[in-house]
Amino acid sequence: MKAIYKRELSACFRSPIGYLFCAIYLFFSGMYFNSVLSVGQSSEFPQIYYGMLNIVLLMLPLLTMRLFSEERKYKTDQILLTSPLNITPLVLGKFFSALTIYAGCTLFTLIYAIVFSFFTSPSWPLITGNILGAILFGAAFIGIGMFISSMTESQFVAGMGSFSIATIFIILDVIPLITSNEFIVSLVGNISFVGRYKPFTKGILDMSSIVFFASIAASFIFLTVRVLEKRRWS
């Protein structure tokens, strides 16, 4: 798992994708920080993470689209699958490499918090809660993106696939605004990624949200393992 993790991490920064991802993340989070600074209240700080959610959804396909598609394109999956390594650590290595890059960007926002602390005392529990929530949020979507990448050998198709799903998630959040049907509103509230994130903005470590994100990540990791396993048998 370590070998795969290291190789993936370095591969991401051998191509422009890793830099592009970090640059976009820092640009938008910087913009949100700028607006938080102009208001200048500690309670406004989580706005950075909350505002980033939709952008993160649209950006994460950049990280996940190449995970397995590229291996199939270069036929390097043959060396991975014929090595003594099992499939699960292989998938985990790739998952955590993408998560590391995303989490690294998220942790970078701590610098904003430090800058913020010069002006007013930030609420640290609120900030840690948000960072934790944002990482879980990303982990769930990275799982989905990785799963899509394992099904195609075209990076473009994998990217567009995850991108479309991200778009659906974003549109989901608009539905409660245009309907008053209680059932639909509560259904959407339960499956919406952004909706599930809401408790974290208040600094609450909501168990159901944590389980929601973690179980989505875990199930898609499991499904990715199955897809790779299935290919052997087809």
Binding site: K6, T82, S83
Partner: protein
């Protein structure tokens, strides 16, 4: 070392491998010979655990590839048809990655130096794989199989796409590797397999057609009593003369062009057979411009092997 029993692989209704069984002893160089689509790559993919069989078993050094995949895979170095290289890595980085992937235990630097020396890639270790020529990529692919020093090497068409000089180099490299490892390689070139391998396993349409030592197969295939004679003159005259020679058992016209005709001649095993033909033709002033041993193409071999079965 490798035991393959009753291997069958179906892709839907399409049968890619049909009840193939063979075994390869330690230290042997075995060659899979067959036309494209014969099932060579499928067999290799199953032995290495990349694909699974529909039925049948594969054991490597006593470990079943399905039951104990980790142990079995540890003993195999595999070079697929397309070398599995990451173009964005340097040769050195790539070998280090493979070293960690296979959890090799050899001393790193000495091990890499030895492998690079053997495969002749020491000069390009710092270069990005995407900038290497096809020949070097193939060698990096072979170097990769040697990481961790597995006892079994499986090489899928290792010389395809190389220039003649590189082909000779790769062949001699494989022979060198054969001294320490059990090697299985595949090819669709008969002479190549004959030159490198101790054993030849012939596959056609997913079926095992022949499995014998290199020598006995070539004895069976190059029939010393069949020659091709080409002479200037009318075909009918030449045929009459050939038939009059005592040591000629049978002759058959192959073609007639530009005043010369070509015959396939079956002769008796008497040593003087060819001389008899020469003198008989010379006496009738029908100059022989070519006389050669009949060589079988891969197609002929398959036909003859299938017929014999």
């Amino acid at each position: 070392m490798i035991k393959v029993k009753h291997l069958t692989k179906k892709y839907g209704a399409n049968v890619a491998l049909d009840d193939v069984s063979f075994s390869v002893k330690a230290g042997e160089i075995a060659g899979f010979l067959g036309p494209n689509g014969a099932g060579k790559t499928t067999t290799m993919n199953i032995i290495t655990g990349y694909l699974s069989s529909t039925s049948g078993t594969v054991t490597v050094d006593g470990y079943d590839i399905l039951e104990q995949p980790t142990e079995a895979k540890k003993r195999i170095g595999y070079l697929p048809e397309v070398p599995p290289l990451y173009p964005d890595m340097t040769v050195d980085e790539y070998l280090r990655f493979i070293y960690e992937l296979k959890r090799a235990t050899q001393k790193k630097e000495a091990h890499f130096n030895e492998i690079c020396e053997l495969t002749g890639i020491s000069a390009v270790r710092g270069r990005l794989i995407k900038n290497l020529s096809k020949g070097y990529r193939q060698r990096v692919g072979i170097a990769q199989t040697l990481v961790g020093n597995p006892p079994v090497l499986i090489l899928d068409e290792p010389t395809v796409g190389l220039d003649p000089k590189q082909i000779i180099e790769v062949r001699s490299l494989i022979r060198k590797l054969g001294k320490k490892h059990t090697v299985i390689l595949s090819s669709h070139i008969l002479s190549e397999v004959q030159a490198i391998c101790d054993r030849i396993i012939v596959l056609n349409n997913g079926k095992l057609v022949a499995d014998s030592t290199s020598q006995s197969l070539s004895d069976r295939l190059t029939d010393g009593n069949s020659i091709i004679v080409r002479a200037v003159g009318k075909a009918a005259d030449i045929q009459a003369v050939l038939n009059s020679v005592k040591t000629v058992k049978r002759c058959e016209k192959l073609s007639e062009k530009d005043g010369a005709a070509e015959f396939s001649v079956t002769i008796s095993s008497a040593e003087s057979a060819r001389q008899d033909i020469f003198y008989a033709m010379a006496a009738k002033k029908l100059p022989i411009i070519e006389m050669r041993q009949r060589e079988y193409s891969l197609e002929d071999i398959f036909l003859s092997l299938v017929d014999k079965k």
